[in-house]
């Protein structure tokens, strides 16, 4: 059984007045296996963030189902959703979403504090995670005192300290310079090798080339997907950019 399974997802936005309908997603079906590193690629406005929001149970689809570990997240009621997110999902955002009033350490502790864990347990969890992400020397600093790359690694630490079933990342390299972005992608690869399932949404070819599988989304539909197989990152990069060229040229690409 796949870890994450999406069936016929559809999302239609209706503007508040006028009743103008915009279809953001249609016929989205795919699945992600345990331990997989998948990327979803698409232009701005292709519906990828909408998709991620639905997967993150922060938005509800117009129709369709999302199964995580066999549980249909679409039918969970609002009050249970927060708990569901806490226990099963980890998030990394483009703009980090760290709290400036909290130190790096406190930011990482936040999900555990919200879950009501004891300090001793939290502290035991923090050390290996911080060491792995190379942020153990800045734990006492504040987000405005560290670099963008360090902020994003703090955000990753906050996401994985709860051992989530799946790590959802929305354009995680979007706000970083190319050097920090490269380091961050290596970090993602490392935690993936340790068994973390990752689903990343991005429009950066470089970010997607680290993934094991890339799904292409265009005008709200899954258009194509490629598997890494035995390709290196560079070969993957080439394959993705070739695919994108064909997609952007408007050609029909169905294997």
């Amino acid at each position: 059984m796949p870890l994450l399974k999406v069936n016929n997802l559809k999302k239609v936005y209706t503007t508040r007045f006028g009743g103008n309908k915009v279809t953001a997603l249609k016929n989205i079906s795919f699945s992600v296996e345990q331990g997989e590193y998948a990327a979803i690629m698409g232009e701005s406005g292709s519906g990828k963030t909408t998709l991620l929001n639905i997967l993150a149970s922060m938005d509800r689809p117009t129709s369709g189902e999302v199964f995580l570990n066999g549980e249909n997240t679409v039918s969970i009621n609002e009050n249970a959703l927060a708990r569901f997110r806490r226990e099963h999902l980890g998030f990394v955002f483009q703009d980090f979403n760290l709290l400036d009033t909290f130190s790096i350490e406190d930011n990482i502790y936040l999900p555990l504090v919200l879950a009501g864990k004891e300090y001793k347990e939290m502290n035991e969890k923090l050390e290996p995670v911080a060491a792995k992400l190379g942020i153990d020397h800045i734990l006492k600093k504040y987000p405005y005192e560290v670099s963008g790359g360090q902020k994003q690694r703090t955000a990753i630490a906050r996401a994985i300290i709860t051992n989530p079933d799946i790590l959802l990342a929305d354009e995680p390299t979007g706000a970083l310079d190319s050097k920090s972005a490269g380091e961050l992608l290596d970090t993602f690869s490392n935690i993936h090798e340790e068994g973390q399932t990752i689903l990343m949404v991005t429009h950066s070819v470089r970010a997607a080339s680290h993934a094991g599988r890339v799904l292409f989304i265009k005008d709200g539909e899954i258009y194509h997907q490629i598997y890494r197989g035995n390709m290196t990152n560079d070969e993957m990069y080439l394959k993705i950019s070739n695919t994108l060229t064909v997609l952007l040229a408007g050609g029909d690409l169905h294997e």
């Binding site: 922060m58 979403n97 919200l114």
Partner: protein, 291 residues
């Protein structure tokens, strides 16, 4: 789950968001002090029993009403401001797995704490200054009395009652606001920005009518002593009128300035006009000056 976690989080939040909580506490404290002073001076006036004392206390009683209404406005405004600045933080709590009722509980404790502290400080300040106020009053009336420091117990109780209920309403209002939001909106809440409001002509007309009626009443009454109820109505009218006129007038003025491209794109002017909501801040000064 740890029972005190929300309490701890609330205290932590207040400590870490000092810069946002301080103005809230300060405005609450000031309003509480003012309210208590009016009550206390009123009581001392009645007790001292000098000529015109009852009329004096009647005026103070009306002042109390105005002060009460004003407190509600001020506290609601600063609370709204506070809540808006913290949208991202609350959204993050929700995304990281905190249920809305739990966020509500944190907000509850935060208000209890800031409210409690501002009540304490406000009452202490009020006690200190109420005697001074009374002495100034007597001095104005060229009366003399023995100096005795008094604490009005009924005044304290009444102030506590009034402001506790205001804080209670604030808590309910915050929870209601929280219910309506979803996590994405909360996260993006601080970046949504304020839509430029439309000019509402009806507000402007109403404002002018209220304001002129208020001032007309205030100016045309011959004997202020017999016209206290009229005076009270006049004050209320002026408050409402100023509010309405500022609300519509500021928008209309800014729109007009915007039409003048040369003025609008001037470097300093461009920065000034962004702060639409600040009109309520100016309003406060206007009404306070009137009082």
């Amino acid at each position: 789950m740890n029972k005190y976690i929300y309490l701890k989080l609330a205290i932590n939040n207040i400590k870490k968001n000092k810069t946002t909580f301080f103005p809230f506490g300060l405005s609450c404290g000031t309003m509480i002090a003012l309210f208590y002073m009016l009550l206390s001076v009123n009581e001392q006036t009645l007790r001292t029993d000098f000529y015109g004392g009852t009329t004096m206390s009647e005026i103070l009683g009306l002042g109390l009403w105005v002060c009460g209404i004003f407190s509600v406005l001020v506290i609601f405004y600063t609370n709204g401001f506070l809540l808006k600045r913290r949208n991202k933080e609350l959204g993050l709590y929700s995304v990281l797995g905190m249920e809305k009722r739990h966020i509500g509980r944190i907000l509850f404790w935060e208000i209890i704490f800031t409210g409690g502290i501002s009540l304490l400080v406000g009452l202490l300040g009020g006690m200190l200054f109420s005697r001074l106020m009374f002495l100034i009053l007597l001095n104005l009336l060229s009366l003399s009395t023995s100096f005795k420091f008094e604490i009005s117990v009924s005044g304290i109780i009444f102030t506590l009652l009034i402001f506790s209920s205001i804080f209670l309403v604030i808590i309910l209002y915050n929870n209601f606001k929280l219910k309506k939001l979803n996590p994405i909106e909360l996260l993006q809440g601080s970046s949504v920005g304020e839509r430029e409001p439309n000019t509402k002509l009806i507000y402007a007309i109403l404002g002018v009518i209220c304001l002129s009626a208020g001032y007309f009443l205030a100016v045309t009454t011959d004997n202020p002593v017999y016209a206290i109820p009229i005076f009270f109505v006049a004050v209320l009218l002026v408050i409402a009128g100023t509010y309405l006129l500022f609300m519509s007038g500021s928008i209309a003025l800014l729109k007009l300035l915007k039409k003048n491209k040369k003025y609008y794109y001037h470097k300093t002017h461009f920065m000034y006009r962004r702060n639409h909501t600040n009109f309520r801040f100016y309003l406060r000064h206007c009404i306070q000056a009137y009082r």
